[in-house]
């Protein structure tokens, strides 16, 4: 525990609070101050914005999917669950590369369109492609928690509501949805966090012209070698994620009790 969790964190914190000068190491907040320049803030905003949109789309697709899966009489449940989990066994990079070959200018989809004499589409290197990549990669993380909460709802509760005069719309709004909120919350967290920090998807499908916060951190470490600034951005991200999780679980608490905070 100490080695794997605490040590790296201490290291990151140490780097973020220091700069290397000719005289040696000096403690400073410079790295953090530097981040609050418009250019970097724009990157942060764009990352958050794309992550929020992807999370929202995941929720829109994931919730109904989870509902269908949790449906009592749904007899292809096992197959569907397997299909959903199967891609997760493959390397994340590989899957994203696979989409590249599909979406490319000369990729499979455009070839097909060309074959049908339809106009070619710019499917890659834009915001939509990045969002698409995020939704594709993170959708299971939305569906599974919601599914697990939904499938645990006692069917007699739904029957009781029906018995008391509620039609299916009221049952959903007053019973099923409120009871599924913990699943929705953990789904949102599990999608939003990797989405906001991803750098692979934005680089591969966004073509590098869409710098996200993850790319920025990666650049600091691998390209410019400015570990101190990179650490500072990482620390800021960590704080943002921690804060948003705190807000989430606080909201969650009102309904469920317990949680991180």
């Amino acid at each position: 525990m100490l080695i794997f969790i605490v040590a790296p964190l201490v290291l990151v914190a140490f780097y973020s609070l220091t700069v290397q000068t000719e005289e040696g190491i000096r403690f400073t907040f410079e790295n953090f101050v530097r981040f609050f320049k418009p250019i970097y803030l724009m990157v942060l905003l764009r990352s958050m914005w794309l992550a929020i949109i992807s999370t929202f789309i995941c929720l829109l697709i994931g919730y109904p999917a989870a509902m269908i899966l949790a449906e009592k009489g749904f007899n292809r449940k096992k197959t569907m669950l397997l299909l959903m989990i199967l891609p997760m066994w493959m390397n994340f990079l590989l899957r994203t590369y696979a989409w590249m070959t599909l979406l490319e200018r000369k990729g499979l989809i455009n070839s097909l369109l060309g074959f049908l004499h339809l106009p070619q589409l710019d499917l890659m290197y834009n915001n939509q492609a990045v969002i698409f990549g995020m939704v594709y990669n993170f959708l299971p993380f939305m569906i599974l928690p919601i599914y697990s909460v939904l499938s645990k709802i006692d069917h007699s509760i739904i029957e009781a509501a029906e018995d008391l005069g509620a039609n299916s719309f009221i049952i959903f709004r007053r019973i099923i949805f409120p009871l599924s909120l913990p699943g929705v919350m953990s789904g949102i967290t599990m999608v939003f966090m990797p989405a906001v920090t991803t750098f692979v998807i934005s680089r591969l499908l966004g073509g590098g012209q869409f710098t996200l916060i993850g790319n920025l951190i990666e650049q600091q470490f691998l390209l410019t070698g400015d570990w101190n600034f990179g650490s500072a951005i990482s620390t800021i991200m960590m704080i943002i994620i921690l804060l948003s999780m705190g807000v989430m679980s606080k909201y969650d608490k009102e309904h469920e009790g317990g949680g991180l905070w």
């Binding site: 509760i157 509501a161 008391l164 509620a166 409120p178």
Partner: protein, 348 residues
Amino acid sequence: MPDEIIRLVDISKEYNGTEALKNINLCIHRNEFVTLLGPSGCGKTTTLRIIAGFEYPSSGYVLFEGVNINDVPPYKRKVNTVFQKYALFPNMNVEENIAFGLKVKKMDKKLIKSKVASILELVNLSGFEKRSVDSLSGGQQQRVAIARALVNEPDILLLDEPLAALDLKLRKDMQIELKNMQKRLGITFIYVTHDQEEALTMSDTVVVMKDGSIQQVGTPEDIYNEPQNAFVADFIGESNIIDGIMIHDFLVEFDNQKFECIDKDFGTNTPVDVVIRPEDIKIVPENEGMLKGVVKSVTFKGVHYEMIVESQSKYNWMIHSTLMEPVGTVVGLNILPNDIQIMKKGDK
């Protein structure tokens, strides 16, 4: 009958080829406390769910005040259910749970509040409005479930083994409370249980079911004293069921002895089932008894002793008596004609 409220006509229900209910015909009257009694898997819950509308009968129909309600969905039926595991809404507090049905009907808020308050008083839970349902004990949750159903003023209240999860003492108290509630409110109760004592205590009418068909319908006294077949006799209370031969009217032979009885119309020399309640067998000195036997075991049951007496033809009689005879004693047994119940041979 003018006060008939529910009639089941030739109801059958199949699940994947197995018959859960076979030609159920049953008439239930207004203000009646009816109990569906039977072992698990006898179809009593299925019958209840058909009345509630959660199951659709494979054939036959449900008449509500003479109108076929087969196609009326549960949420439009004037029937409310108390579920076995209460099925309270975990995301709502006590008050919200009870108010749910009224809110759905878009009743005036003030009216809802006063109705909830008065129903909570009825179930002795005043002051619990804002409590979360998880913080309640089993008995309290049970009352909330009953209140949630009753507040809608249904014509019929369906109860699916509502007391099964409670401990004995609480169960007895709730039985009396439920019965009182039913009398006071004048609502028809249809109650499902596998507990014969519960059925006898609470009901106006008991419907004994087995393997998806009705065995007997009658008052608790009828069911106990005049069981129509060996199954009912065995299920309702404890009984000695022994093979016998009806020699002619008013004379039956069992355990190698001839006994006078009060039954007739079985023909002559017909094999029959003879049912005798354990408390109806009198232990007398060895030479004064119609039967003779050896006490094999004695168990103290609180109110009475339960003794097993083996007769000369090796039949083990179960006897309940407040007086105890030690194991190994040879005793005589007497049975009055009135206490001998003769039934046609049937499947047990």
